[in-house]
Symmetry: C2
Subunit: 256 residues, 2 copies
């Protein structure tokens, strides 16, 4: 066991105390100067240690207030059931899910005509930079920024289904609207990845350092071509994505 630098000792000691309940979620840590005295270290060294905990997402800090132990309430998103048309629903799936969880949803919405970003163009099988309709959603739960969702539709589809490019919500859901016009999504391909937020994402989702984002990209297909690409960016500390695959009867049964 080699000797750890002092700022790591500070971080490790505080992490232990957070884990064992000395500082429960939501509580305040001692101030920098108190910790400085306790660990016989300069304020800067203590700050380095606290900085580690912040970048690990364990605590948050705010000027004038102090350091607070982070709370973790995760919200589950069932991705495999999310847009199954055989589950009839009123309004969009997101509001339904959030309301069922006893939380208060809220979203802002806009529609733009935009050149296709490279990533999206490849998935929609169109030229990079070609015209797409972007329907963009910024979602909140109990007024906390939760996720952003950007769905791109290729120009040819927007011509066939003009309401896609009109501002304002599509009451029955876009998937259903498209299905009614003969463009039925029969399959999709999901890609899930994670990384630290860009400065823009950090602003949109109000995440501090130390909270990664969860990226969920869904490309939807008819029997012969892609019709949409949806990129959802979640706060990683508040969300989990689930898939149910195959027969689920063994999951719902009571333990014997």
């Amino acid at each position: 066991m080699s000797k750890q630098p002092k700022y790591r000792q500070v971080a490790d000691a505080l992490r232990r105390e957070i884990d064992n309940g000395t500082y429960p979620p939501g509580s305040r840590l001692p101030s920098e100067s108190e910790l400085s005295a306790r660990f016989d270290a300069s304020r800067n060294t203590v700050r380095s240690g606290l900085g580690l905990l912040v970048t690990q997402g364990l605590v948050t800090s705010s000027q004038g207030l102090g350091y607070e132990v982070a709370k973790h309430e995760v919200f589950e998103l069932n991705a495999s059931r999310f847009e199954d048309l055989s589950f009839p629903q009123i309004g969009d799936a997101y509001s339904t899910d959030v309301t069922n969880a006893g939380r208060r949803p809220h979203q802002t919405f806009r529609v733009e005509i935009r050149p296709a970003p490279e990533e999206v163009a490849a998935r929609l099988k169109v030229e990079p930079g070609s015209r797409t309709v972007l329907r963009f959603c910024h979602r909140f739960v109990d007024d906390v920024p939760w996720s952003t969702q950007a769905t791109y539709y290729p120009a040819w589809l927007a011509d066939e289904a003009p309401r896609l490019a009109e501002p304002g919500d599509i009451e029955e859901g876009t998937t259903r609207y498209l299905a009614e016009r003969g463009t039925e999504q029969v399959g999709y391909f999901d890609e899930i990845s994670t990384r630290m937020p860009t400065p823009e994402e950090a602003r949109a989702l109000e995440v501090g350092a130390g909270v990664p984002v969860l990226l969920w990209m869904r490309t939807g297909y008819t029997v012969d071509r892609p019709i949409r690409c949806t990129i959802t960016t979640f706060r990683g500390d508040l969300n989990r994505v689930n898939y149910e695959i195959g027969d689920q009867s063994g999951r719902e049964n009571e333990p014997q």
Copy 2:
């Protein structure tokens, strides 16, 4: 537009230069003292700025060498196809996938009898702390630590299928072995989340600060009960998890 602190200006300037190709992936950044002169800032301030880029996973640093712009090669894991028995395969799915990608796989493996962690117990519908068989895998690609995978089996199943608790690989795959003994996995439930690594995970996966982990938890079921829970921890910068759901013919077609 309010004035940014100097260390952010440093980070933003360097981030722009990384994005626009001035410092391509794999290249070295100027040294701290050079940057200190360029930005007319103290070395500590420059270090704060570089620290931001490190915690965002954009650059890595090493003592005596300097700062290097991170490379990103992501490896795709097809989760929906991963254990489908209708795709016959030799050896385990991981080695197959990695070899197909032209990379060199390598893994260490061990089996233990362990009390069920709370998370696992809930999913296996057994008492927390009750006996489980843990089959643990530490996986490398081209000698880079890639992921760890821990699969827990309940005690009752290990009694029925004794090879589960024996050390050493199961040649044909555990899923296939269990199916041959009459315990067929007919469905599974996947949960995907992300967070910053714990110190242990950081050590096992050799990730620096600024790289989140991607957690993939799969619970497998027979028609009437859970039979296993697999927790895979990936380096978030190197992996992506995919799902194919529904009819995929529209994905594989050529663009018209």
